[in-house]
């Protein structure tokens, strides 16, 4: 990702996944940063994770507590986290209590203690946990301002990168806000019954940073930040040149309809009700690619990989050998409280790691469920498809439509803007028999077949049948015979009948 820096101070990578994306590369060496948030928002974990990661990079950390939890209790809470290693404590990480000094000797005594401790323990990173206590002890705002200013001076000559932890948000005019180089804010937000942890870089001198709030999780590994996809992937790579290759499905008549297959780097949507065959088309797409050395990724929210593989085998679609060889990677996002951003992170990480050329995401509904914040899905899908295009990946997305609806509801507004090609499949009743129909609603960049075709799924895979000649309204699900007296269709009349979801205006081209 391109880093925009206004200055060339050396950076210290945080070691916290996603956090360096927010700061465009890590904290500036020697900077002073405020980490603020109400109790329980994760300040202590983030600080300790920074400390232990600094030690892994050869640094030495000093963690000073004021009126905060005891060190023993803190270690007890940190012990389950993977980054915590008590063997470093009392060696390259030292924990000191400073409230006694503050109480007996005031701000000057604290300042003296900090300066001496940084030198004694040769600290390259300092944490002061409980800065609010200092403000309470300070007699006046001026004396607190003076303390912060003097602390900055002490720290600047030590070269120590410093983090002040505070549970109070006293506003932008507070000395600790104005005199620090950066402010990181942690909070909880409610979304329905869900509690979401959020992180925001409110200020970051010396460098650009990703603005706004981003989600984070605390897992067994520690803190994991998930930057909003549309914020860090918001700028597509310029001058991207598609390889202009075709990526066939491996279904001959379908590939003919598409003039050879999907163009590389494009994103296609496959709409249709449950059971209409969407997943089968996606599986075939991946299997065909894998057979010619194009690694694929199957990302699903709805069923386990084993179950999917068994279904494909039953249909004669060869994915199992490719799963075993690694030519197809498969990820099942079974967790029901996932985040859109962590899903996208996972997809992109897999694409980069395995050189994936074909991605099948089943389906957009799963992405939507992990989305928080109105209007994000369109921007996130745009960002994701741009990034995948930049890696010359050809992407297929599925979206479930209603079984009995006569209108095709687009999952997002401006679907046409996000995807290059739109296919529609469904089952229709024809003379008391269910038959499968496929229609190519839209293609970008090339002409495609415009007729509605029947298709078949069997143990031999997918077979495209003839176009329907004597039936109409197939896509609406109410197939009926064409009236015999009607004049031939006007091929110049637009064929798109894509309708936005309920509540939106009907859109006809």
């Amino acid at each position: 990702m391109k880093t925009e820096s206004h200055a060339t101070f050396p950076r210290i990578p945080s070691g916290i996944p996603g956090l360096d994306t927010l700061t465009h590369g890590g904290f500036l060496k020697g900077g002073v940063y405020l980490i603020m948030g109400a109790p329980g928002t994760g300040k202590t974990i983030i600080a300790n994770q920074l400390a232990f990661n600094a030690v892994k990079q050869g640094g030495r950390a000093l963690y000073v507590t004021l009126l905060a939890e005891t060190h023993a209790r803190m270690f007890g809470n940190l012990k389950p986290l993977a980054f915590f290693d008590e063997n470093h404590i009392s060696d390259s990480i030292n924990y000191l209590g400073a409230y006694s000094v503050l109480e007996r000797e005031g701000l000057d005594g604290l300042l003296k203690m900090l300066g001496e401790a940084i030198r004694k323990f040769k600290a390259t990173m300092l944490f002061i946990d409980g800065v609010a206590s200092v403000e309470d002890v300070a007699q006046t705002t001026l004396s607190f301002k003076k303390f912060v200013h003097q602390l900055n001076s002490v720290l600047s000559i030590s070269g120590c990168t410093t983090f002040l932890l505070s549970s109070m948000d006293t506003g932008a005019s507070n000395p600790e806000h104005t005199m620090v180089d950066g402010i990181i804010s942690l909070n909880h937000a409610q979304e329905g019954l869900r509690d979401l942890r959020q992180i925001e870089v409110r200020k970051f001198r010396g460098s650009n940073h990703l603005k706004g709030r981003h989600l984070m999780r605390i897992t067994d590994e520690g803190i994991n930040v998930h930057p909003r996809v549309e914020s860090y992937l918001g700028k597509p790579l310029k001058d991207y040149q598609s390889s202009a290759e075709r990526r066939p499905f491996g279904v001959p008549d379908l590939d003919d309809m598409l003039s050879g297959g999907l163009m590389s780097g494009t994103t296609s949507s496959l709409l249709g009700p449950a059971g209409s065959g969407k997943t089968s088309f996606g599986a075939q797409f991946l299997a065909t690619g894998a057979a010619v050395g194009e690694p694929g990724l199957y990302y699903t929210f709805y069923e386990s990989v084993n179950r999917w593989a068994r279904k494909c085998e039953a249909m004669g679609i060869e994915v199992v050998p490719h799963l075993q060889s690694g030519m197809i990677q498969a990820i099942w996002q079974g967790e029901t409280e996932h985040y859109l951003d962590e899903v996208v992170d996972s997809i992109l990480a897999t694409v980069k790691r395995y050189g994936i050329k074909r991605v099948f995401i089943d389906g957009v509904g799963g992405l939507r469920e992990g989305m928080f914040g109105a209007g994000r899905l369109h921007r996130a899908l745009t960002a994701l498809s741009n990034e995948l295009r930049a890696h010359d990946v050809t992407t297929l997305l599925t979206e479930e439509t209603e079984i009995f609806a006569s209108e095709i509801s687009a999952p997002i507004s401006d679907l046409s803007a996000v995807t290059d090609n739109i296919f529609f499949v469904r089952q229709v009743e024809v003379e008391s028999e269910l038959r499968r129909v496929l229609s190519i609603i839209k293609t970008r960049d090339f002409e495609s077949e415009h007729r509605v075709h029947e298709f078949f799924l069997s143990e031999h895979g997918i077979r495209i049948g003839n176009p329907f000649r004597n039936l109409e309204s197939l896509m609406q699900g109410t197939a009926h015979a064409k009236p015999t007296h009607r004049s031939p269709p006007n091929r110049n009349r637009a064929r798109t009948t894509l309708v936005k979801k309920k509540g939106s205006a009907r859109k006809k081209k």
Binding site: T70, I89, S100
Partner: protein, 117 residues
């Protein structure tokens, strides 16, 4: 009444130990770091030193080394405390007991009673 010197930088722990030991019949003085523990020794020799390891100015291990190097104070029993595993050994530093935090106050009193019998 036995005199115990507590060297502990964590305010809450120092306060809690001071209260409990005083209630248990000890005379107590508390200092926040190892350097001040040495100053306190010079004023009055305690019967026992209960000392944290991670402290500013002089750590617990640095302080016990200085104490054991001085013939006048080398016989004072030193009990070390820490939230981290012990660095070094009893033979190396000469502590009489090591208490791991978080501790149960009864364990502390038992150790003190045993050392001060």
């Amino acid at each position: 009444m036995k005199f115990v010197l507590i060297a502990e930088d964590e305010y809450d722990i120092a306060l809690a130990l001071e209260l409990v030991l005083t209630e248990s019949g000890y005379r107590v003085a508390t200092v926040p770091n190892g350097q001040e523990a040495l100053y306190a020794l010079a004023k009055e020799k305690p019967d026992l030193i209960l000392m944290d390891i991670m402290m500013p100015v002089l750590t617990g291990l640095e302080t016990i080394q200085k104490i054991k190097a001085d013939p006048e104070y080398a016989d004072i029993p030193v009990v070390l405390m820490s939230a981290a595993p012990a660095k070094g050994t009893q033979e190396e530093y000469g502590w009489v007991a090591f208490i791991r935090k978080p501790f149960n106050v009864d364990d502390v009193l038992r150790v003190l009673a045993r050392q001060l019998e």
